[in-house]
């Protein structure tokens, strides 16, 4: 697995090392070129000086080797060798060491100095400068015989007076090569040393720089066991703050979700345990002593009631689980709302007769909605049941179908609400029944409205509630588009 430290380290080294190699190469080549240039300049100056020792006399060409001190030059630390000849390749003077070096020739005077590399048979490398020139004419009369006797003077003839003479001066560059080799080794050592020091420094810096990331990783690792842990946004690096902020937000949501699930499980367990306790207690008390058969019958009837309550509770829980997992699908069709509302209400009219309440309907004709009729009936039944259960003595229940901002709204309201404004939002919490709620029939679990809202949302509708203590409790279903 790749590590951040390793990746950063490799990245820095892979970027820096080629730069160092390139810089070393450029430096090496520059120094080498500079040295060659210096050699060339020095050779040219020297060759030009040597050219002065070549004179055109009345008897021909004269090269005074004494003047050139060629002997000393050939034996110095950087030996130099000389060639003097005619344009057509006739040699006037040639150092012995130059055997095997091709003799220069040219059909006419050379345009300027020419520098070149040569290699001697003994593998020594030579740098040379070559140019042609017209020797200076010297009209002074000299004793030819005495000149001939002077071993330091070479006398020859030119093809024609004023002809150019070619001079080529060679220098052994072994010392230059040795210097460049040493320089290369120094550069290599410096480069390798630099890379080593750089690696160490970079590694330590990256390690130090990665510490906050490692600490963050350790923090995050610890979160798996405790969702309540949060990372201090002030303590992390500025660059990590957005990540930590997002992570903390994510943890908040996760914890809230887990807490809600735990609460639901706990509530569900509680709601199931209580009727179970009732069932068990009813049966155990009945079996506690011998009783008349009528008493056993009463006990069985009570037990059956509790079983029915449990059935209803389990049914509600399963319905909610199915809705939340998306297993339920709405079968949408065109539904006449007024007919649907009126048909559903019919089964509740008997309850109205028993209670001293007034009921009013305000439904527009022919209002059609694209919904699942079966599910709408289920929701309406729950809302009607609630309205009739909670309405106060002498109070009223109203059912209105109206158009609001282009949407169709169904409002079902009842007076005598026992839910405060602050508690209104909680009516959709599973198992919430409100502190004022008093019902010991065991048939109201606080699941009806959460289930109804899920159904409504599944059909693309919205459910809202409004309530005031001892005022009206209003449930509004909003169907988009009307």
């Amino acid at each position: 697995m790749r590590s951040l430290t390793g990746t950063l380290f490799r990245g820095v080294i892979m970027t820096t090392a080629p730069i160092l190699v390139l810089a070393g190469t450029v430096l090496y080549l520059s120094v080498s070129a500079q040295l060659v240039r210096q050699i060339d300049e020095s050779l040219t100056d020297k060759a030009k000086m040597l050219a002065l020792s070549v004179e055109e006399k009345q008897y021909g060409l004269e090269v005074d080797l004494e003047e050139t001190r060629i002997g000393n030059m050939e034996e110095s630390d950087s030996p130099e060798y000389l060639y003097i000849g005619s344009l057509e390749g006739r040699t006037f003077y040639r150092s012995n060491a130059l055997d095997g070096i091709p003799i220069p020739s040219s059909p006419g005077p050379l345009p300027g100095e020419q520098h070149d590399w040569y290699r001697l048979p003994d593998d020594r490398k030579l740098r040379s400068v070559l140019f042609s020139f017209a020797p200076e004419a010297d009209g002074e009369e000299e004793d030819l015989e005495s000149i001939a006797a002077d071993s330091g003077i070479i006398v020859d003839t030119l093809s024609a007076p004023g002809d150019h003479v070619v001079i080529q001066l060679f220098r052994d560059t072994s010392s230059h090569s040795r210097f460049m080799e040493t320089f290369f080794l120094m550069l290599l050592a410096t480069g390798l040393g630099s890379i080593g020091i750089l690696s160490l420094t970079v590694w330590m810096s990256i390690k130090k720089g990665a510490n906050p990331v490692n600490e963050l990783a350790a923090h995050i690792e610890g979160i798996s066991d405790d969702l309540g842990v949060r990372i201090d946004e002030v303590a992390v690096l500025k660059e990590l703050v957005p990540i930590v902020h997002k992570l903390n937000n994510f943890l908040d949501k996760l914890e809230e979700s887990f807490s809600r699930e735990r609460g639901f499980t706990s509530d569900a367990a509680h709601e199931l345990r209580t009727p179970l306790a009732g069932l068990r207690s009813t049966i155990e008390v009945a079996l506690g002593k011998e009783r008349e058969s009528e008493e056993y019958r009463t006990t069985l009837v009570r037990a059956l009631e509790i079983v029915k309550q449990l059935e209803s509770l389990v049914g509600g829980l399963l319905a909610l689980a199915r809705l939340e997992s998306g297993q339920e699908k709405a079968r949408i069709s065109e539904v006449n709302l007024e007919n649907c509302i009126q048909d559903t209400w019919k089964s509740y009219s008997k309850i109205v007769d028993k209670k001293d309440i007034s009921v009013s309907f305000s439904l527009s004709n022919g209002e059609v909605a694209l919904i699942d009729k079966g599910l709408l009936v289920q929701v309406l039944e729950e809302l009607f049941r609630n309205a009739l259960y909670y309405v106060d003595q002498g109070g009223s229940v109203r059912v209105n179908l109206l158009q609001e901002e282009g949407n169709t709204q169904l409002r079902i309201s009842n007076t005598g609400s026992k839910i405060s404004v602050q508690d209104t939002a909680r009516v959709f919490d599973r198992f919430w029944r409100g502190s004022q709620f008093k019902d010991d029939t065991g048939l109201r679990f606080g699941l009806g409205l959460p289930i109804s809202r899920k159904i409504v949302e599944m059909m693309g509708m919205r459910m809202d509630v409004k309530s005031e203590m001892d005022g009206e409790f209003v449930v509004t279903l909003t169907m988009k588009g009307g």
Binding site: A269, E271, K438
Partner: protein, 228 residues
Amino acid sequence: MKLLLIEDYKPLRESMRKGLVENGYAVDSTGDGAEGLWFASTGEYDVLILDLRLPGMEGLEILKRLRAQKNRVHVLIVTAKDSIDDRVEGLDLGADDYLVKPFEFNELLARVRALVRRKYGQKEPVVRVADIEIDTSAREVRRGGRPVDLTVREYAIMEILARKAGRVVSRETIQEGVYDFASELSSNVIDVYIGRLRRKLEIKGGNKILHTKRGFGYMLGEEDRCGL
């Protein structure tokens, strides 16, 4: 022995009440938390059986308020909340015992008996007064080794007198310990029960054990020990 039962689930409340009454307890019961607090604050109970999730007022709030009032009633929490945190919180707030629903009814009875014993400072389930033995677990009474056959109500009165042996117990105290809040009683019903008890306990020519203190009440014990 008088109990207060606060439980909002009616089928459970009714079955618990029935079972407790059949075991000789006087039981006041309610399904509302606020009403339960009123009962507990105004009445004299040996044990309070308390649910936690209640309409009107949460069970723990009732417990908190009772303890704030210095009410020392022994409280048995009976709830569906089964986590350790819930138990710790309940016990730390002053409950004496904790029972998780669903429970076996016999266990509930045993815990109630244990709390009653604790109230009267008794470790053993058998209460002895002179040659009378009252086994509060088996709900049996013997005198001189001879079993005494008592009805539930007679036993309940016997237990009240035995737990306060040697002391005068008023007619009202007996009545409160045997009958619940809603019972309508004729003024001499306790006298009738005491008469029956005396007949079952005492033998002709034997020592009197159940004494009437005219104008004050009744007392269980031997004459010399009672200072008579």
